[in-house]
Subunit: 244 residues, 2 copies
């Protein structure tokens, strides 16, 4: 992967301090005097086009990536016979944590739409962490959060109906968008039905059908890929109790 690196002396919105996502990303807990050093190791590659790969499975691991805008999907090639969507990454979320400690990336990461990322070369990050205790803590916390996210995903997948999974998925997205300062009720689904299906262990047709059911029940409204959650309570009941 060849990336066009931009100069260090970009405009303010290209620095963490002026970034709208500062406060949600890895740099959150860094004190101001450390932020500068953190900023200095960040690369900001050119934006990814829809469908373009950020990293490819098997390729050497070098960097973490934080989504600045747009979104990503992480896909594992399972024995060369099909693709499994493991994660979606929304703005402020960090991709690549699962590759730490491995020489090679365990999965491919693709852009779901036009996507800007910040690149954090891991070697630099680690060196910096030697000096900055708060950065170390931030990294641990970030990985811990990722682990809890995976646990949640396992619970979603394990022995739940299609309705429970989809409701849980929508509520999870809602929470994540809300945490980064967006609406809890209305957001853009950049991923296809097939992507959602793979991620939830469902056939894409089932995703479509259940989505339709939710709309008819007045739980959600959809315009294209723009979703509006009309009843968080209703969805929560379904996610917990199961359909009906």
């Amino acid at each position: 992967m060849t990336t066009v690196r931009q100069g260090r002396s970009g405009p303010a919105e290209l620095l963490c301090e002026g970034c709208s996502l500062h406060g949600a990303c890895l740099s959150r807990s860094l004190p101001l005097e450390e932020l500068e050093a953190f900023d200095a190791i960040i690369d900001r590659p050119r934006p990814l086009k829809r469908g373009e790969a950020l990293v490819r499975q098997g390729q050497p691991f070098t960097s973490l990536f934080v989504v600045r805008s747009g979104s990503l999907k992480q896909v594992i090639d399972v024995d060369g016979r099909y693709d499994q969507v493991v994660h979606f990454y929304l703005p402020s979320e960090t991709e690549g944590l699962d590759a730490i400690g491995e020489a090679r990336c365990p999965a491919t990461v693709l852009a779901l739409e036009r996507t800007f990322v910040c690149e954090l070369p891991f070697a630099h990050l680690e060196r910096l962490a030697t000096r900055l205790p708060s950065l170390r803590g931030a990294l641990y916390r970030c990985m811990g959060r990722e682990l809890r996210g995976d646990q949640r995903q396992v619970c979603l997948l394990s022995g739940r109906t299609a309705e429970q999974r989809l409701a849980g998925f929508l509520l999870g997205l809602s929470e994540r968008f809300h945490a980064r300062g967006c609406s809890r009720y209305r957001f853009h689904l950049a991923m296809s039905r097939a992507d959602i299906g793979s991620h939830l262990g469902l056939a894409l047709e089932t995703v479509s059908r259940v989505m339709g059911r939710f709309q008819r029940q007045g739980l959600v409204a959809m315009a294209g890929r723009e979703v509006t959650l009309r009843s968080l309570e209703g969805l929560t009941v379904i996610a917990e109790d199961g359909p009906r």
Copy 2:
């Protein structure tokens, strides 16, 4: 949880250097001169009885635990309506990584049999990591490995048949036992059918039936909870291609 702490001056097998699992656990990559400092922060509580809790969901997070012998299951209480088995921990594996960055433990951990653990108070560990670069690296790598394990679990759960899941589960255990120096073919299943079912998103009856099928096909042999894998190749084919 009150634990009986043992003195610092125990026999050699209670130190990392003399431990049979050194080389598999967190302490693996520490140079000898750092090992001593690492050893100094470890507690070794009294062994857990079968069914006893090591930590309980919601309880303040204080420590990581490394399994020395025996095994653990990590269980999440889902909305108070049922329990979801998220992880099993075998000797040399580290429990508690998913709680890092949280004040409270996200799940309950129970002993599946008589189990000895090493307790690593996280505050001490973090302080020590300030001095020891290799310990920092070891922690990152450990968490990265955990993340990849969870990914694997998600792939196992997502849209696979009962046979594929169980075959994948057995092969995963085989690998983990082998990595710690035990037989790849023969090991003890400390968990019940219900535990396995919950972990794999299957009803316990299904686990029992598929196990029976595997036995009739000569893929595995069982004597009580002692399992022998008779054909890793056969199981691999099933895990990958699906039944038949």
